[in-house]
């Protein structure tokens, strides 16, 4: 896939925050019935609701409030401003414009790494 484009994203909502995860990094969408990393911690928001769904990525679960799959074939990825480079251990990879709003595009692997470090700190 050429640089600056992404093909298919999973749109997630965590509290008032929103983020998009490339479909290729998501193994499956599972019911929230076991231990999972709370994505809201990475955005400074409070812990999400008990009910919700989990994104299964790299063998681990990321808990979010709601999940949607965008069927648009290709999306333009806006670059990360230099001011925000390195945020969340480099999990923010860019922004996509969807549904009249700007969604941060997040790397599931970096996000998991960032959450593990926070937990260890």
């Amino acid at each position: 896939m050429p640089r600056g484009l992404v093909e298919g994203v999973v749109l997630c909502r965590v509290g008032e925050a929103r983020l998009a995860v490339p479909c290729g990094e998501v193994d499956a969408i599972a019911p929230l019935d076991g231990p999972a990393w709370d994505v809201g911690l990475a955005f400074g928001s409070a812990a999400g609701a008990v009910e919700g769904k989990a994104l299964q990525c790299f063998g681990q679960l990321l808990r979010v409030d709601s999940v949607d799959v965008l069927t648009t074939p290709e999306l333009t990825v806006l670059p990360v401003p230099s001011l925000l480079t390195g945020v969340a251990d480099g999990a923010l990879t860019g922004f996509v414009e969807l549904l009249g709003a700007l969604w941060p595009l997040v790397s599931a692997g970096h996000l998991l790494e960032h959450l593990r470090r926070r937990a260890e700190a």
Binding site: C23, A28, K53
Partner: protein, 593 residues
């Protein structure tokens, strides 16, 4: 109030007897010295023996007398308490003292004369005839001495008896101690005999002795002339002696008569004074004149009579007082009776008016009772109708209660069905949720598959929308089910409240029915009672009319009673005056006991 017996009354009472003995001895000695010629050399022995015997016998007699007055002595000395028994014993001793003194003096003097004669004979050896004559002279004086002792002791014994009465001796006890003896005549004869016979014997003895001596002188003188002269001289001397003896005899008789009269007449004098007191109406309980023999009988009888009179006077006084009080009470009661009669008359008039009013009221009550009876009948019918309605209402309430109960049961069943529907909806919602998740994963996989999975992804997206619609619908249904559950719960509670309300209503209806039943019963009774009241009131009206007539009769009688009470009050006032006069008459007898 009592006065204790003075001390030493025992000796004071018998002292005269101690004086009487020397007096008798003096008389005897004077006679002997005048008539009897004692042999030469025997006079001193005579006098010594005489004095010795006199003192010894006097002491012995005194000791004997005092031994018979122990109780009197103890009471006077305070050694014996003045109980009625002790006072009675002392009275007995004092009453016997005069007789004791008499017999003791008589015995002692006669024995003493014999002893003097015998001792003198043995000591001085006078002629036997002289010694015997001296003894006889002493014995001749003994009755006179005893009589004097008796008469001297007697007044003092009376005085002691009076003092014992003052000390608390009951008069009736004294009457028992001093029994009545009708011996006055015999005693007077005895005293007279002694008083006359003793001097007479002395004169006779002296005359005989002088005659004998004169004959002896004449017989021993041979010369007739000398004998005549001696005879004349002796005769003249004898006349002188006899004259002296006659004078002494006269004095002795007069003294004995005076003493006897004084001693025996004193009680009569006192009786006269007591009689005078009684005649004046000055009665006094317990007055008793000390006396002997018939005089004592008169004294005791007079005392008893005075006691009886005092009792009678006291009874009359009490009766007069009682009559006075009763009359006063009668006056008071009469006034009260008069007042009561007046009040009774007024009350009767008021009662008559009230009775007439009562009769009129009875008529009105009778009419009202009939009306009330009719009203009670109407009430009875209304109550019976009300009871029927209440019974019907009770049945309807039971039906309502059953219907509510059925509704409640249906609502409970509906609630259960709704709950079952809810569980089904939850099951559908779960399926939709899983379907949504599966559709998400299918869509994700479809995107991952690229162009090949594009159609698959579209289908998955469509399925996901369906699942979401289903989930939306199930949530709506769940909300509706919640609403239905709330509504059914409210319906259950409402029906339960309705059941309770119908049960309460049914209970109230039963109570109303029961109350109406009681009302029916009471109304029935009231109707019967009103009929009875009506009948009774009619009878009462008739009775009231009769009562009015009777009250008028009673009123007339009461008016007569008022008049009688006034007359009775006047009579009772007169009775009070009479009772006062009677009390004054009784009080003139004095002698309050």
């Amino acid at each position: 109030m009592t006065t204790p017996l003075p001390p030493g009354r025992n000796r004071w009472m018998t002292n005269p007897s101690t004086l009487a003995a020397p007096l008798g001895v003096m008389i005897a000695v004077a006679y002997v010295s005048s008539v009897v010629t004692l042999p030469d050399g025997t006079g001193a022995a005579y006098v010594g023996v005489l004095l010795t015997v006199l003192v010894g016998f006097n002491i012995a007699a005194d000791l004997f007398e005092q031994s018979r007055l122990r109780t009197v002595k103890g009471l006077g000395a305070g050694l014996i308490k003045p109980t009625p028994e002790a006072l009675t014993a002392a009275a007995a001793e004092a009453a016997q003292a005069p007789d004791t003194t008499f017999f003791l003096a008589l015995f002692a003097f006669m024995v003493g004369a014999v002893v003097v004669s015998g001792l003198w004979y043995f000591l001085a050896s006078p002629p036997v005839i002289v010694a015997v004559r001296v003894g006889l002279v002493g014995s001749l004086v003994a009755p006179l001495t005893a009589m004097m002792a008796n008469l001297l002791v007697l007044p003092r014994a009376r005085q002691v008896l009076r003092e014992l009465l003052d000390a608390g001796l009951p008069p009736e006890s004294l009457a028992q101690v001093l029994p009545v003896r009708f011996e006055l005549r015999r005693r007077l004869m005895l005293y007279s005999t002694v008083a006359v016979l003793t001097p007479m014997l002395m004169v006779a003895d002296a005359s005989l002795h002088r005659s004998t001596e004169l004959l002896e002188v004449v017989k021993r003188q041979p010369d007739v002339v000398v004998a005549r002269a001696v005879f004349e001289a002796q005769r003249a001397e004898g006349f002188g002696l006899l004259g002296a003896l006659g004078a002494a005899t006269l004095i002795m008789v007069v003294l004995c008569a005076w003493l006897t009269g004084s001693v025996l007449g004193d009680p009569l004098k006192r009786l006269g004074e007591e009689t005078e007191r009684l005649a004046q109406g000055r009665y006094q309980r317990g007055r008793l004149v000390m006396a002997e023999f018939e005089t004592w009988a008169a004294a005791t009888s007079m005392s008893a009579m005075e006691t009886h009179l005092l009792d009678a006077v006291q009874g009359a006084r009490d009766a007069a007082r009682g009559i006075g009080e009763a009359a006063a009470e009668l006056v008071t009661h009469g006034a009260q009776q008069e007042q009561g009669a007046n009040e009774q008359s007024a009350a009767l008039m008021a009662t008559t008016a009230t009775t007439e009013e009562l009769a009129r009221s009875a008529g009105q009550i009778s009419a009202n009772a009939l009306r009330v009876s009719e009203i009670a009948r109407g009430t009875l019918e209304a109550a019976q109708a009300g009871k029927t309605s209440a019974d019907a209402f009770t049945g309807a309430m039971a039906e309502v209660r059953d219907g509510n109960q059925a509704i409640a049961d249906s609502v409970v069943k509906l609630n259960k069905r709704v709950q079952q529907v809810g569980r089904i909806i939850e099951f559908i919602d779960g399926i939709a949720d899983k379907s949504d998740l599966l559709a998400l994963n299918a869509e994700l996989e479809g995107h991952k598959a690229g162009a090949v999975g594009e159609g698959f992804g579209l289908v998955a997206a469509e399925m996901r929308r369906l699942a979401e619609n289903v989930m939306t619908s199930t949530r709506e249904i769940a909300r509706l089910i919640d609403d239905i559950r709330d509504a059914t719960n409210a319906a259950v509670m409402a029906t339960e409240a309705g059941v309770k309300a119908t049960e309460s209503g049914a209970g109230l209806a039963r109570k109303v029915s029961d109350s109406l039943g009681d009302i029916v019963q009471f109304a029935n009774l009231s109707a019967d009672a009103m009929q009875s009241i009506s009948l009774a009131t009619v009878q009462q009206q008739g009775g009231s009319d009769q009562l009015v007539a009777a009250m008028e009769d009673i009123n007339r009688t009461t008016q007569k009673n008022v008049e009688s009470a006034r007359q009775m009050a006047v009579t009772q006032g007169e009775l009070v005056e009479v009772s006062k006069e009677l009390a004054q008459v009784v009080d003139t007898f004095g002698g309050r006991s």
